[in-house]
């Protein structure tokens, strides 16, 4: 069995409204201050902070950081797909997490305006989550950072990276999500990840409704971000930006694009690291060794900027909005060479030692998943600080190491730990899973097969399948089939299809598919491969063209989510339903290619044929039939007589020979 470790690094920046304390190690004091602050100002209504009363605030904090996953674009699209009621429920359930402080806002706005706003403190927290994966992988979720930033007209940046703050202000961005992923998350072997992202680069942005021309803003923003992250986001244009239902809802302010071709490497990690307040100098970021990271099975770095505000985040320009920046880094290490044993040194690097927390961090913690009872031995500390935390709707047990506590590091002044685990016996199988492949042979046509698995034993539920296919695969939408199973007569109840426009717009296909319990639903659609202009091919045309992952999203009821096979696990008990989505594999499709060495030849040959056509018709149109006479025709020569002595000579010759009827020289002039 392969051994993988998932490590996840999350940095969370939250604005702390504390004035008097700089870095409070005492959680107690911090929460009190926060409470105080909120009463005084009541601008911070993040559910994060509202729960931090108990001393065990680790847990609560933690829950919330996972609770608000940035929804993918598909989430917003499910709204139009589902009927009105469903839409309402979705909105209340997912979009508007903080939805209870309406009165507060209106009150506090005034109080805010009257006194000059106090200098805000950004809050920054970092976490590292390490989890052995069920196929043996270890998933190190190097959980990034979360800022909250209040952007005033004259911004004062403390921890929040200025480059991003300026981007938000300049382009009036209300929400921004960007991810760079190398490799494909194998849901069936590794289970649900904390945060999903499709292979390649993904960017999606909500603009504020003050933006007049969204397309121009989008174009400029992609170019700016391309510079910030050293990525080819500048390849995002209208051909890979699907447009949903245009002006109906706020969706005209939403733009999203996936670049499945994007290759993620060190040059993307370095700018990402620079956004951290401590850089890679200290804190958990010390562990970020690109040499190790890019030898992994899966690597994903992401950055999410979301506004945190009281009501619906409708008035983003108003000053009561704070921004949350969350930087996450997910890496799956393949440790099969070292057996089922793992340590911090082995996973990251021996030379980069974790010796202290980032001094700017509000909290800095390492979580190790011990749910499946692996043996954890802290090499430096005798007694690990065991506590429980709930992560991603799974009740899991973690041992938590608080880096802000000097005792964690012990005598050696560096943290290391060793983990041994047994092969996991039963994994909580993900209920929803998708696969996709291209069928057919030859370069003329093909068929995209999308398989959607429902692993629930008795419950059927609908999913929304969202496909964005580039224009050069011409989908024959009438060949779309989703074979009806025994349980459902017609699994597809809703289809929204936006046809492509050549070189302008991709296909957008959305389907609401009913999944019978414990079933596989196969959706197929045929396509034809287009021949492109020779300049439109990539430099390696025979490698093929990538088609981005399709998104399968569903609204799962918590009862549905409960797996009956392993009843001890119950997901997300707090809410009645939750939103989840999975990505399928990207596709690699070959297109017919012209001969790239031929342009001159082709231009010459085709023009020759045209000339043959033109010439033969021209000859017949302009000339008349005449009896072929031998000898020189005098009249033509007469016309040129003035010009040419030679002609005169010939004329003379002709007249001389005329009588002799010699037919030797046939000269046509």
């Amino acid at each position: 069995m392969l051994a993988f470790i998932l490590c996840e690094l999350v940095y969370v920046f939250v604005t702390a409204d504390v004035q008097e304390t700089n870095q409070v190690k005492d959680a107690e004091g911090q929460t009190h201050a926060v409470e105080e602050e909120r009463q005084w100002e009541a601008t911070e209504v993040e559910t994060n902070l509202s729960l931090t009363d108990t001393p065990s605030d680790n847990e609560a904090d933690h829950v919330q950081t996972y609770d608000i996953p940035p929804p993918p674009p598909a989430k917003y699209k499910i709204q139009e797909a589902a009927e009105e009621e469903r839409r309402d429920s979705l909105e209340t359930n997912i979009v508007d997490v903080p939805s209870d402080k309406v009165a507060h806002v209106s009150d506090t706005k005034k109080t805010l305006d009257d006194p000059p706003p106090p200098p805000e403190k950004d809050r920054f927290q970092e976490e590292l989550v390490i989890r052995p994966l069920h196929s043996g992988d270890t998933y190190a979720r190097n959980k990034g950072k979360e800022f909250d930033l209040k952007l005033y007209l004259v911004s004062h940046y403390q921890l929040f990276p200025k480059s991003l703050g300026q981007v938000i202000l300049k382009f009036s961005v209300s929400e921004l999500h960007i991810s760079f992923t190398q490799g494909y998350w194998r849901t069936m072997q590794w289970g649900q990840p904390f945060l999903l992202s499709p292979p390649g680069a993904e960017l999606w942005v909500w603009f504020q409704d003050t933006v007049t021309d969204v397309d121009i803003a989008w174009k400029e923003l992609t170019n700016v971000l391309s510079g910030i992250f050293c990525a080819s986001l500048n390849f995002i244009d209208s051909t890979n930006t699907p447009l949903g239902v245009g002006n109906v809802t706020d969706q005209r302010f939403l733009r999203s694009a996936v670049l499945p071709r994007e290759i993620v490497c060190t040059e993307n990690l370095t700018p990402w690291k620079k956004l951290l307040p401590c850089g890679a100098k200290t804190g958990l970021a010390v562990l970020m060794n690109s040499e190790k990271f890019f030898h992994s099975s899966f690597y994903s770095q992401a950055l999410h900027i979301t506004p945190v505000c009281q009501v619906r985040c409708m008035y983003i320009q108003s000053s009561d909005v704070s921004w949350e920046l969350r930087q996450t880094l997910n890496v799956v290490f393949d440790l099969h060479s070292s057996g089922q044993e793992w340590s911090l040194f082995k996973m990251f690097s021996r030379t980069l030692l974790l010796t202290e927390a980032c001094p700017l961090a509000f909290s800095s913690k390492v979580y190790v998943d011990v749910t499946d009872n692996p043996q954890v031995s802290n090499l430096t500390l005798a007694t690990p600080l065991l506590s429980q935390a709930v992560v991603l709707e799974d009740r899991r047990t973690y041992s938590v190491y608080d880096l802000t506590n000097q005792a964690t590091f012990g005598q050696t002044r560096s943290l290391n730990m060793l983990l041994r685990w047994r092969a996991a016996e039963n994994m909580l199988r993900p209920l929803l899973h998708g696969e996709r492949y291209v069928a057919g042979y030859g370069l003329q046509k093909g068929e995209i097969h999308t398989l959607v698995y429902n692993h629930h034993t008795y419950r059927a539920f609908p999913v929304l399948l969202l496909d964005t296919v580039p224009w050069y695969l011409r989908l024959y939408i009438h060949t779309l089939t989703a074979p009806a199973s025994v349980a459902t007569t017609n699994p597809v109840s809703y289809i929204h299809y936006q046809p492509s426009k050549d070189r302008l717009q991709p296909h957008l296909l959305e389907m609401l598919v009913q999944l019978p319990p414990n079933s596989v639903t196969e959706v197929t659609v045929q396509f034809e491969r287009a021949l492109l202009k020779w300049t439109e091919y990539t430099p390696d045309p025979n490698h093929g063209f990538y088609v981005g992952s399709s998104v399968i999203s569903a609204l799962m009821h918590s009862v549905v989510a409960m797996d009956t096979n392993s009843t001890q696990e119950r997901r997300f008990s707090a809410e009645s339903s939750y939103f989840m989505w999975v990505y399928t594999e990207p596709l690699l499709v070959n297109l017919p290619t012209p001969d790239f060495s031929m342009p001159y030849n082709v231009i010459c040959l085709t023009c020759t044929v045209m000339a043959v056509g033109y010439g033969s018709l021209y000859k017949l149109l302009t000339r008349t039939f005449q009896v072929e006479e031998l000898g020189i025709r005098p009249f033509q020569c007469l016309l040129r007589r003035k010009q040419s002595i030679f002609c005169r000579f010939q004329w003379g010759e002709f007249t001389a020979r005329r009588g002799s009827r010699s037919q030797q020289a046939v000269i046509y002039l």
Partner: protein
């Protein structure tokens, strides 16, 4: 005298005699198509790039009808198929039959006119004496309409096009009806069908000139710029044509309530954005074209189609039906998305020019090349797309050869026609000044 004075006069007996073979022919043609529709080939043929183009592919079109969205079909035809989508096969077979019958009647009527003219000329003794062997006899003209219908219906190209449900068959039917109405002298119907054909695919615009010439000729109005009757009729016909075109475009607008179809249909035809291989000259040329020359060459190639109208009309102003043939042939060679269905239409006219056979110079070579190319298209396509052992250049080479052969064929017929006309005025056996036997050259 070698010719019989009575023409193929349409007595009822004769009509009945002729109707029987035509009916038989129609039955045979429909049977072949019906069998092919039921066979496994019905799946294969619509995939062939030679048979369908993005403009007329049923697969694309039907998808669009289902999703009631836009694509490169004109709105009216989409609307039409809303009603008959379940009977599509019958519609396409009927379109072919209609084309054949229309061509049959048109050629029959045209032959009658030709014969009458020939008779008058003979009576006026306008033909040189040695031209008697060029005079067409009723006996050889008798079967020409049937042959035309047969050439259309039993042409493998037409059959393939019909089985592929290419809307090219419908366009052909419209053009055939236009020819029939023109020959019958119904200027209104002729204008309407011409407008319909233009509406379907811009290019039949060039048929305006021959139709006008024919109708003028029929009404004995000389083409003379000073004559008011000429201008009157021209204005009238132009008005009818443009009027019906306007009505169609406006109807489409009311159907869709947007003008998008103009750019998506005509823009698509003229700017050639879809480079799917076909038998024409455009696809590979523009796939390999340098970006900054693209617009220039698109203009050149498109103008090329329309360019020949005026000189041909001047040259052939006495022979409008041959002009129609020339125009259809030029369109089908130089249009942006040609298919074999377009070729089938002008090939159907070849029996009508039977009498030119003795003047054709390289008919054997051209027919062999056309046959060989038709066989090689699928072979090289397979090698390129499926086997991967050839590349695009192979298929491209065959399209080049195929087009050269077509050009030679058309120019050969043009040459033969002009030459026959020359002989009819100057005598068949020309002598040089010195009395020796002369050869005729183009100068």
């Amino acid at each position: 005298k070698h010719w019989s004075p009575h023409g193929p006069s349409p007595c009822p007996d004769e009509l009945r005699l002729m109707a029987a073979p035509l009916t038989l022919l129609l039955i045979v043609a429909v049977t072949i198509r019906a069998v092919l529709f039921r066979s496994s080939l019905a799946e294969l043929i619509p995939e062939r790039v030679e048979v369908v183009s993005p403009l007329n592919a049923w697969k694309r079109g039907s998808g669009i009808i289902m999703m009631s969205s836009y694509l490169f079909q004109t709105p009216l035809i989409i609307y039409f198929f809303h009603f008959v989508i379940d009977y599509a096969e019958i519609v396409f077979m009927m379109a072919d039959a209609l084309t054949a019958v229309a061509l049959y009647l048109a050629v029959k009527d045209y032959n009658k006119t030709v014969f009458r003219k020939q008779k008058y000329a003979l009576e006026a003794e306008r033909y040189p004496l040695d031209c008697l062997e060029l005079i067409r006899t009723p006996k050889e003209m008798y079967y020409i309409p049937l042959k035309v219908a047969m050439f259309y219906l039993l042409n493998p190209f037409t059959i393939l096009s019909c089985v592929a449900k290419s809307t090219c068959g419908l366009n052909n039917a419209v053009i055939a009806l236009f020819i029939l109405c023109t020959v019958k002298g119904s200027s209104l119907m002729s204008a309407i069908f011409l407008a319909l054909a233009t509406y379907q695919s811009i290019y039949p615009l060039t048929l305006f000139a021959p139709a006008l010439l024919y109708l003028l000729q029929r009404l004995y109005i000389p083409v003379n710029w000073q004559r008011s009757s000429f201008w009157l009729f021209t204005t009238q016909y132009t008005f009818m044509y443009l009027g019906s075109l306007c009505v169609m475009v406006c109807l489409s607008f009311f159907l869709l309530s947007s003008w998008d179809f103009l750019s998506s249909v005509y823009g698509f035809i003229l700017s050639v954005p879809d480079l799917t291989p076909n038998i024409g000259l455009f696809w590979y040329f523009f796939a390999e074209m340098f970006e900054h020359f693209r617009l220039f060459f698109i203009c050149v190639f498109q103008i090329n189609v329309f360019f020949y109208t005026i000189p041909l009309s001047i040259k052939l102003k006495e022979h409008p039906i041959f002009l129609i043939f020339m125009q259809i042939a030029i369109i089908s060679i130089f249009k942006s998305y040609p298919t074999v269905g377009d070729i089938a239409l002008y090939m159907a006219f070849l029996p009508a020019w039977n009498h030119l056979y003795r003047f054709l110079r390289n008919i054997f070579l051209v027919s062999v090349v056309l046959l060989a190319c038709s066989a090689l298209f699928p072979v090289l396509w397979h090698l390129w797309i499926y086997a991967g052992s050839a590349n695009s250049n192979f298929y491209y080479a065959i399209t080049l050869l195929f087009n050269v052969a077509q050009i030679l064929l058309v120019s050969d017929y043009f040459y033969a026609y002009l030459r026959r006309e020359h002989h009819l005025t100057h005598g068949l056996y020309l002598k040089r000044k010195d009395g020796s036997e002369a050869t005729l050259v183009l100068k």
